[in-house]
Symmetry: C2
Subunit: 279 residues, 2 copies
Amino acid sequence: GFPFKQKETAASSRIYGGVRCDRGGYRKRAVLSKHLVTRKLFEIMESKQTNLCLSADVVSSADLLDLADTLGPLVCAVKTHIDILDDFSPKVVDQLVEIANKHNFLIFEDRKFADIGNTVKSQYAGGAYKISDWSDITNAHSLPGSGIIEGLKAASGGRKDRACLLIAEMSTKNNLANDVYKEATVKMAEEHGDFVIGFICTSKVSKNPQHVHFTPGVKLKPGKDAMGQQYLTPDEVIKNRGCDVIIVGRGITDSANRLQEATAFRNAGWAAYVQRVSS
Amino acid sequence: GFPFKQKETAASSRIYGGVRCDRGGYRKRAVLSKHLVTRKLFEIMESKQTNLCLSADVVSSADLLDLADTLGPLVCAVKTHIDILDDFSPKVVDQLVEIANKHNFLIFEDRKFADIGNTVKSQYAGGAYKISDWSDITNAHSLPGSGIIEGLKAASGGRKDRACLLIAEMSTKNNLANDVYKEATVKMAEEHGDFVIGFICTSKVSKNPQHVHFTPGVKLKPGKDAMGQQYLTPDEVIKNRGCDVIIVGRGITDSANRLQEATAFRNAGWAAYVQRVSS
């Protein structure tokens, strides 16, 4: 089972590495964090009072930019799948970066790198998408071993404003990321704190307050899709499972009123956070 | 340990599912196989006497097409990372398909899909690359569970000339694909024989003669790179570990005489196969 699935007690959550800290408090963790991207993310979350990351899974560039501009004020990050855009051009990412600056959110390309170091190096910096040029955060599977982190780091060319999340757990039915896998992933993150800032997970997996926990598969009601995706609520993810950021895609993008839905998710996520840190 | 790491005895290798077959013989397995892509691949291998798959990891389209055209006669498949091409255009894949037809090899886009079903569906058929339009074979991690296969299958729109390999093992140092992971992957393949035709692996993982085993990380001498890749020889892979196809990248592409090196790999891989099936 997951050791952190139940809400932590105040006492257990405030000591890490001998340091007393409110691990649930985004602002205190911003101060604690060594990585520029972690600090920036936590500061955005506190100043905008949001732990919502929009998963902008749309296939048209105009739709992507419109979503980012309309919902930008409500989110701490916009997650992209740049490789599903039917009409990609380098101009799209330039415009997305402008919108991100305007509304103060981070861009997270959900590439799920999953190859050997030498290959991901080219995939991250090169090709048509040049992800490392415009994406503050990307993510990678720990499956290939730490060479994948070395490859991505090499491609980022030492930029301090680029960071990576490791996928420690998946939200899909019958996925193969078990406890052993998760623990090896957390260890890998600890060993690469200059580039890995946290996790994609369904529950808090690390006690290190510098680690950010992003959780996908979030809807206002629990459920599943036809291809194995399983949904949790903002309250469950933030309050009970101790994660930091809720990633919401179809719960918002499939809605007739995206602004209203995004507001509902933002409010639910933030309320759950406030309850967690006040308890 | 791996049950098939040692060379199999003739007796053990010739019975599968009650059917007597020479499991090492590509031609017999072509006849046995239900999937069109498997049959086509085994037939190409026998008729061209090659179990070499070129990993064309180059960043220029001209270089990719030149490699495919020059080495095409020597290989059963060309493996691409279409997303590392700095000058990709849809014309490149059209030309690659023409060259594949001319020299009778399959195209294998090494995308390593690794997301939930709903996402890989868009990644496989859509975006800038439209992989399902031109790639006979692609591959996926089993990590997200069988939803990933459902997503890819849905994107292929029921085409019989599209197939997928699951990554059962990786060639990198300290990778997290252990025996439990491998066994779950093989089970997933068995359950999706209409789309999954085999594995990326470092040793034979399935006794099903319809399953094709592709092994990356092959050089003429054992060794490693600076980012965790570990190399095996063609002889070790084909003769001792019972795999079917050797995937060779830098061993050929980094050579001053690519044609000569590719010929050496082709001859070594084929000699190992002939020895295996004659013993």
